[in-house]
Every structure is written in C-alpha cells, then in structure tokens.
C-alpha cells in the first residue's frame, strides 16, 4: 500500500469492524423503535372541514388572543404536509403559533384510484376556494393570509390571481414559478431543455392512472443518488447511539418515503402546462374556465426561497417578481436546501418571526 495513502489492511479492518459493530448495535436499537416514537405532526389540531379526501385542520392557538387574520397553509400534493410540523423543535407551525398566529392547514390526503380524474380545477377552484371560504366564515372575514409551500405556493399564486378579493397577503415558500430554469434537474427531466420533450406525460398518465408515489420518490432520490442512497446511511451510523438524533433521522425517513400517489389528471396538467409549457409566466394556464394571470396578484407578496435548493432552483422562485402585479414585493432567502427550510434550526429561528413581522406590518 502506498505511503501517501495511509490505509493499511490492519487499520482498514479495524475501521470496518468498528463500523460494523456500530451497524449491529444500531440495528438492535432500531428494533425497539415504535411508531409513537417517531410520530410527526405534533401540534394539537382539530378537523374543521372535510371534502372528499381533503381535510382542513385548525391548529389550537398557543396564545389567548391570536392575530385576527389567520394564515392558511397550502402544502404541495407531493409528500405529506406534516413536514411543517415535524417535531416540537422543528415545526414552522408551532413557531408561528408561539408568535401568536392562528394557523390552518390543508391536508390533501392520499388520492386513491377513484381520484384519478381530479383536476387542477378541482384543487384550486374547488378545495382551496372552499377551505378559504370556511376559514373566512369562521372568522367573519372577507380575506385571509395564504402561505403556499413548494407546489402549494404555485397553487396559491394561481388562486390569488383568480380570487384576489379573498387574499389579504400571500407568502410563497420554495415555490417554482419559472419552470424552464435550466439549473433544475427536475425541469430538465420533464423536458424543458432545448431538445424536444422527452417525457410523454399523456402515455405516463394513461398507463399509470394515478402516478405512484414510489415513482415520484425515485425521481427525487435520483437527483443525488449516492448521497441519498448511501452517504446518508453511512452518516446515520454515527448517530445510532444517540436516541434523539436517531429518532429525528427516522422521522425524516418516514416523511421522505411517505409519498402519496398523484391524481392522474392533476399531474397531467401540472406537468404539461407548468413544467413543459411554462404557461404560468406566459399567462396561459387555464384552471377550469379561468385564465391565470400573475399580474392580477396585487396583494403584498413575501417570496422565500432556499439558496441551495436542488428541487426548486432559486432562479425559478426569484423570477416571480417579474410577473406579479403587486407593488409590495419582498424577497427573502436562507442558506439551506429545500428541506432545510423546515428542519434547519437556524431557519426555524429566523423564518417564523420574519413571516409574522411581515404580516403584522401589512395588517394595520
């Protein structure tokens, strides 16, 4: 073995044995983990409205007199919304509640085969609009605050352009707007590059019906196959003797692999109109019979993006400023990745106060 490469057989064997001892001990610890230990979605909440698979939750306020205009969180259809309330010390929801906000959340549920025909029209003109109406009615308000996350942010933009009279302020988090930004591998794979569209969305939906969650997940894991498929588990070995860190890791694993199927027709339109056609910024997206025009978004907008986002490239989110009609536009970023926006301790320290301050300043 080379002198410059200090890996003797003995040393490597010792390291391997040590590594494997940790793995064996770790597997033994894993066998004691129970579902309740990794329960996500920790903040107390109540169901206030249900329509088909969709449930609107109201989080129990943590202050006696919460802020009078509530925030409705619109999450993406991809993965589950409990990421915003993963655990006590990693919870956007909990931090907003602690700062006096009144928070609602739309849970899209798990679409079954019978939901295959649901469209973007059903999601935006239907479910989101109905949930907004319910919250407005409960609070005796005409308008509420919307907080859209990722694809939920794109939906919130569409909604705000179609129903400006029902939105007081709009917050978009890690939201794709310009789907032809070339930095994003998902954009390239969907067919936004200079070559012809390589992904035949119609055949995909016709063949699958609903798009399986596993298929979606595989696509995300392929973006960093070795870090996400190997490196992550090697790093895990070092935390296996720490119960708290191990449970945190497992909670995250649970979330990553908890991927609902995507309603076929919704997926078809989202991929073709947004990813392939980039119609959101050209003003050609039709939601049912209504045309989305981002210049109609005239309410105050806070756009938050992650600087190291490999799913939604920063440039895709930053593009929003060029298309919205508002004169009150604020851009904020954090030096984390897509998921870091929810789980990074630093972001969770800074982001909720930023949101609350921004909202209060605009609600005189």
């Amino acid at each position: 073995m080379s002198r410059s490469f200090y890996l003797s057989p003995e040393q490597t064997m010792r390291e391997l044995i040590d590594l494997n001892r940790k793995v064996v001990t770790g597997i033994e610890r894993l066998s004691h983990v129970r579902e309740k230990d990794i329960q996500a979605g920790v903040s107390p909440k109540e169901e206030v409205y249900r329509e088909d698979n969709v449930v609107l939750y109201h989080y129990i306020p943590m202050v006696e007199k919460p802020f009078h205009i509530p925030v409705l969180i619109v999450y993406a259809l991809v993965n589950r919304p409990y990421m915003v309330d993963l655990q006590e010390d990693r919870s956007l929801v909990r931090n907003l509640l602690k700062l006096g906000m009144d928070v609602y959340l739309i849970d899209w549920g798990y679409p079954g085969r019978g939901d295959r025909w649901l469209t973007l029209d059903d999601h935006i003109n239907g479910y989101i609009n109905d949930c907004v109406d319910v919250v407005c009615e409960w609070h005796g308000l005409d308008r509420i605050n919307l907080l859209g996350v990722c694809q939920g942010g794109t939906f919130s933009l569409c909604y705000t352009s179609l129903y400006p009279e029902k939105v007081k302020n709009l917050i978009t988090m890690v939201t794709p707007v310009d789907f032809h930004v070339q930095e994003g591998v998902p954009n390239l794979w969907a067919g936004c590059s200079t070559t012809a569209h390589t992904m035949d969305v119609d055949t995909l939906v016709d063949a699958f019906g609903n798009i399986p969650g596993e298929f979606m997940n595989l696509g995300f894991l392929m973006l960093k196959p070795f870090q996400l498929g190997l490196g992550k588990y090697l790093e895990m070995i070092d935390i296996m003797d720490n119960d708290e860190k191990l449970l945190n890791f497992l909670r995250m694993e649970e979330w990553i692999f908890d991927s609902p199927d995507q309603a076929g027709e919704t997926y078809r339109q989202f991929m073709k109109d947004f990813y392939q056609g980039n119609k959101l910024i050209s003003g050609n997206v039709m939601i049912g019979t209504k045309r989305v025009n981002l210049s109609q978004v005239r309410v105050p907008v806070l756009n938050v993006y992650a600087e190291q986002d490999h799913l939604v490239p920063p440039a895709s989110s930053i593009a929003l400023e060029r298309y919205v009609g508002t004169t009150d536009y604020t851009l904020r970023s954090f030096p984390v990745g897509h998921i870091g926006m929810y789980v990074s301790g630093k972001v969770q320290k800074d982001l909720p106060p930023t949101i609350v301050k921004w909202l209060k300043e605009r609600t005189a």
Binding site: M1, S2, R3, S4, F5, Y6, L7, P9, T12, E15, L16, L19, N20, V23, V24, G26, I27, E28, L30, S31, H32, V33, D52, R113, G114, R116, W117, L118, D122, G126, V185, L188, W189, G191, T195, H197, T198, M199, D200, T203, L204, D206, A207, F208, M222, K224, P225, F226, Q227, G229, L230, G231, Y233, L234, M236, I237, F249, L250, E253, E254
Partner: protein, 346 residues
C-alpha cells in the same frame, strides 16, 4: 421469543468469526467477505426486527445495503489503487494502469447489456422471453380464477359441487382463448387478441432496446465516475495529501461519483434515453393492460378500463352534485335575505 433472539445472536457472532477468517492478509476486503457480511447482516436484521415497525426495518435494510456497497467499493478501489499507487509514487506512467482498470470496469458494466442486445436480434429467442413474461402474469390469474368459485360455493352453500361446472367453464374459457394463444401464438383463435399480442411484442422489444441503451449509458457513467475518483486520489497523492481513513475515502468517493452522475443526468443524451425508456415502458404497459383486459372480459371479471370509466362517471356526478348544492345554498341564502327584508304580513 427470547430463545429465538439468542439463537440469532449466537448464529450471527459465529458468522462474524467466519467473516474474520475469510479476510485475506494482504487486502482488507475480498468478494467472499462481502458476501458473507451481507448474509450475516441480513440474518441479524430479520431476527432482531421481526416485531419492529416497518420504517425501522426499511432503514435497517438500507443500512445493510449501504454497508454491502461499501465493501464492494473497497474491493475494487483498493485493488486498483494497489496497482496504481506505486507508479504514482515512483513518478512513472500511471495512465496505462488506470486505463486498464477503467477498461475492465467498462467491460464489466457493458457486458450484460451487450449480450442482451445480441439476443435482441434473435426474434425467436425474444418471442420465447416475451411469452415467459406472459406465463408469469397469467398463471396466478388462471389459478385464482379457478379457485375463486369453489371458495365462494363453499362459503355460500356449504357444498361447492354446483359450482364445479362454473369453474370448468372458466377454465375452458381460458384454455380456448388466452391459454392456447400463449402456448402457440401463430394459432390464435381470435384475430384481435393475436394482433394485440403482436403489438405488445413489438412494444416490449422497443422497451427492451430502450432499457439496454439506458443501461449502457449508466455503465459508461459508472466508468467515468471510477476514473474520476482514481484521478482525484492520484491528484491528492501528487500534492502530498493523504487519505487517513476508510470513512474519508468513502465520502470522497460519494462526492466525486455524485458529481459525475449529476453532470451525466443533465446531458441531452441522458435525458433523451431516460425519456425514451419511460415512454416505451409505459407504452408496453398499456399494451399489457389491453391483453389482460381481453382475458378478463372473457372471464366475466371487471377490468381496469371499466373501473376507470366508472370512476370517471362518478367523478363527474360528484362534481355536478357539489355545484347543485352550492347553487341551492345560494338560493336559500337569497330567499332568507328577501324574507328578512320584507315586512311580515297579516
């Protein structure tokens, strides 16, 4: 339970001793060792997580897979490095040695798709493989259909004899239509089904070709990744930098390899190959469904397209009901407002 656990532990530690013995002196890892490690760890995982939650089992399995990958990676990298390092240190030409290893790796990666590509040209062999797929798909189907009426009969009447005829009917129907056609495609009884099978065959061939092309591309990328990793090590050695631990080496490998793959994944060529693979797979799936549905129709079993159509109709009805409810509510609200604004009569 406790005994089972103890047995598993004992067995596992015995295997560990075997594992240690399997390690040859000059190199830390050998293929036998990697295989044995995987068997041992899988055994332990099964024993220890029998009653564990699914997520714990899944994570455990991923952990074992990652360890397995580590050992295999070590085997290849250390062997290569053992050959290259003396040349680097002696200031000799190491490019030839690296090229030799890279070429060996390329051959390994590409051997399988190339062999399959060759088989691809043999239509007879392909047709055999295609039918093999269909046998796998149809066999459980046929047996379940044959068993189902019997079970239903037993449950409902306590005597299944009345349903024997029905069972035979199903069996005959299968034999008359799909079964024989599978066995001898050229003698199909129904022209339509025969045509569907042939179209399915064509779609399957295209899918396999796309799959080979994709594998070749991945094989090339793996080769580039290996070469990049070795060059990275050589560059470090030439600068006098050292790799101090297995862990450091592994994470360097992951970094380099992810970068190479990330670059490949962005290339037009890869995107087109991946898209083609997906499109041909889905096209074949549609043909497959068509053929299965022909069989199901004959067997009086509801099928996918039929269910989809039923769901579509329910969806539209549900939507209509929602709209009507909203209109009704609006009318009620309007009437209520009018009633309040009108003075009470009488």
């Amino acid at each position: 339970m406790a005994k089972a656990l103890t047995d598993v532990q004992k067995q596992m530690w015995e295997s560990w001793i075997g594992l240690m013995r399997a390690a040859p002196a000059p190199t830390p890892v050998s293929p036998a060792m990697a295989d044995q490690w995987r068997d041992t760890a899988t055994q332990a995982l099964k024993g220890w997580t029998t009653e564990a939650e699914k997520i714990a089992k899944d994570v455990g399995q991923r952990l074992i897979n990652s360890q397995d990958c580590v050992l295999r990676f070590l085997e290849l990298s250390l062997n290569s490095w053992n050959a290259i390092a003396p040349k680097v240190e002696a200031g000799e030409d190491w490019n030839t040695v690296l090229a030799k290893y890279t070429e060996q790796l390329r051959e390994q990666f590409l051997l399988s798709p190339q062999a399959a590509q060759k088989a691809n040209q043999d239509t007879g062999e392909l047709w055999g493989l295609y039918l093999e797929q269909w046998h796998k798909l149809v066999q459980p189907w046929a047996s379940s259909i044959q068993q189902a009426p019997w079970r239903v009969g037993q449950a409902s009447t306590g005597d299944g004899s009345a349903l024997v005829e029905l069972m035979q009917l199903y069996g005959d129907a299968y034999e008359r239509t799909f079964g024989r056609l599978i066995e001898s495609p050229s003698l199909g009884h129904t022209r339509e089904l025969n045509e569907d099978l042939l179209k399915g065959f064509s779609a399957w061939v295209e899918y396999r070709q796309a799959s080979f092309a994709y594998q070749v591309e991945l094989g090339e990328t793996w080769t580039h990744a290996f070469e990049a990793f070795m060059r990275n090590l050589i560059a470090k050695t030439e600068k006098g930098e050292t790799v101090q631990s297995l862990r450091e080496l592994l994470f360097q490998w992951i970094d380099v390899i992810d970068q190479v793959f990330a670059k490949a994944f962005r290339s037009d060529n890869y995107i087109q190959l991946q898209g083609h693979l997906l499109n041909t797979a889905m096209t074949y799936r549609l043909h497959e469904r068509g053929i299965v549905e022909t069989f199901l129709k004959t067997s009086h079993v509801p099928y996918r397209s039929e269910m989809d159509e039923a769901h579509r109709r329910i969806y539209h009805l549900r939507k209509e009901v929602k709209e009507l409810k909203k209109e009704l509510q609006a009318i009620k609200a309007q009437l209520s407002t009018q009633a309040k604004s009108q003075p009470a009569q009488g």
